[in-house]
């Protein structure tokens, strides 16, 4: 009997925490999602007469540091104008002092939902390429996402792919994260030993809190982890994380993970060897052994999709022949049919 009343209480508490939008151009409609730092609401922009998503700091997390983080997230997104990144329309402060920002309302499905719904493998891989585009764009602008995971990717009704939740993104001063320069700018700087991200998709250097080591290759790891999820239906780090660990962004000390990642082909023998190799290269514990950037990872996945040889996987002769036959199946079949038909005609003529 207590369960319904608990739910009612929970709902009442949430409604009581709804932000007061008095004095703003927005009219609150409903709560959409709730994270560790903020809550996303559906709101109506009265001026432009359109629906928007409002991200507001959660009441329990409201402090100066979180407010600055949310402002920084809004600035980061505003700086990254790309079709794969949700545009920010506005940033402001509510009458109760909480910071909010308004962004485009994204409808569609999360990547994890699509994968679990049985999206075909080639479609999944094409989505991975689309996810890589805004991430590579951000890297080119000196921004590392640090929290890439299927739950942070939305696929819209027209196939548009949007990378969300740039709340823990890191800025690098040199704009070239893989260059080896270690000069974080003041904005977005995270203290050494602080761990941000989602454990199951987190690169080892990120899990160690080794902030200076975190660069574009940490996002390459996360994309490799998303590929792992696409291939096996689970995150590579799932086995490394205790069940009571939070699944959302978290911060705090954590021992570096030393467990081996189970290769996708061990989890599912139907996973192609080339994809297994791409995935494991992206998930290498040592950043130097991963792809140097997102573009290199995407290029290898695109090669697989085109039936070309992937760089991560040295092929044996039989594998190469099979790949060739698979890539040129139609012309090979046509030529074979032509030759067979010519032989049959010859045999018929001799009878």
């Amino acid at each position: 009997m207590s369960e319904p009343s608990d739910r009612a209480l929970d709902r009442l508490r949430r409604v009581a925490q709804w932000p007061d939008l008095t004095g703003t151009r927005y009219e609150l409609q409903s709560e959409v999602a709730r994270g560790g730092m903020g809550v996303v609401y559906l709101a109506r922009d009265r001026e432009l007469e359109r629906d928007v998503a409002l991200k507001v700091i959660a009441v329990e997390a409201a402090d100066a540091d979180t407010a600055e983080r949310l402002r920084r997230e809004a600035r980061t997104i505003a700086r990254l104008e790309h079709p794969g990144i949700v545009p920010v329309h506005d940033v402001g402060t509510l009458p109760d002092g909480r910071v909010f920002y308004a962004m485009k309302l994204v409808t569609g499905k999360r990547l994890d939902e699509l994968v679990k719904a049985g999206l075909p493998l080639r479609e999944r891989l094409r989505l991975l390429l689309r996810i890589g585009e805004p991430v590579a764009f951000a890297h080119a602008h000196g921004v590392i996402h640090r929290d890439l995971k299927p739950e942070n990717v939305m696929v819209g009704p027209f196939g548009e792919v949007l990378v969300m939740d740039w709340g823990v993104a890191k800025h690098r001063g040199d704009g070239n994260p893989a260059s080896g320069s270690r000069s974080p700018t003041a904005e977005g700087a995270t203290a050494h030993g602080t761990i941000v991200g989602t454990p199951a998709y987190m690169a080892p250097e990120q899990a160690r809190g080794d902030v200076e080591q975190v660069d574009a290759r940490s996002d390459v790891y996360a994309l490799g982890a998303i590929l792992y999820f696409m291939l096996t239906g689970r995150a590579p780090g799932a086995a490394l994380v205790s069940p009571d660990a939070p699944t959302r962004t978290w911060a705090g000390p954590r021992a570096p993970g030393t467990s081996r990642i189970q290769p996708p082909r061990e989890a599912d023998k139907d996973v192609p060897r080339a994809l297994d190799a791409i995935c494991l290269k992206a998930l290498a514990a040592e950043p130097a052994l991963r792809y140097p950037g997102v573009s290199e990872l995407s290029d290898d996945v695109a090669r697989y999709l085109e039936g070309e040889r992937v760089l991560a996987h040295p092929e044996r002769l039989a594998e190469r022949a099979l790949r060739f036959a698979s890539r040129y199946r139609t012309p090979i079949l046509l030529l074979l049919a032509y030759v067979v038909m010519r032989v049959v005609l010859l045999l018929v003529a001799r009878v």
């Binding site: 139609t330 046509l334 032509y338 032989v343 005609l345 010859l346 003529a349």
Partner: protein
């Protein structure tokens, strides 16, 4: 290279080989092989142009192959209607079957290769 040009070149080459391969399936036509090769090359070029112009308009591998196959079949039929001047015999199967498959190969090539108008240049 645009698609009709791909069709023209591939059609010519495949047509020439198709004509030459008549020596294999019907050795008795050896005395007329030069004329067969020329005729088959010409047929291949025409089929290639048809498949190429089709590929410029329609982006579909199965349809491209089907159009090549049908065009090859049609032109091979037109050629097969003329009997062998020496024997008076018609070679319908010997000309139409390979002609249609050669057309299908050309249809495949025009769909896979060549540039459509408006395609971005590399």
């Amino acid at each position: 290279m645009n698609k009709p040009l791909v069709g023209l070149i591939v059609g010519g080459i495949v047509g020439a080989f198709d004509g030459l391969s008549a020596l294999f399936s019907a050795p008795e036509v050896a005395p007329q092989i030069a004329g067969i090769i020329v005729g088959s090359t010409f047929k291949g070029v025409i089929v290639g142009l048809i498949a190429g112009f089709f590929a410029r308009k329609v982006n579909s591998l199965p349809l491209g192959i089907a159009v090549g196959l049908l065009a090859g079949l049609l032109f091979a039929y037109l050629i097969a209607m003329s009997p062998d001047p020496a024997t008076g015999r018609h070679y319908y199967w010997e000309i139409m079957l390979p002609g249609s498959l050669a057309g299908a190969i050309v249809g495949y090539a025009t769909q896979k290769y060549g540039r459509r108008p408006g395609d971005a240049r590399a």
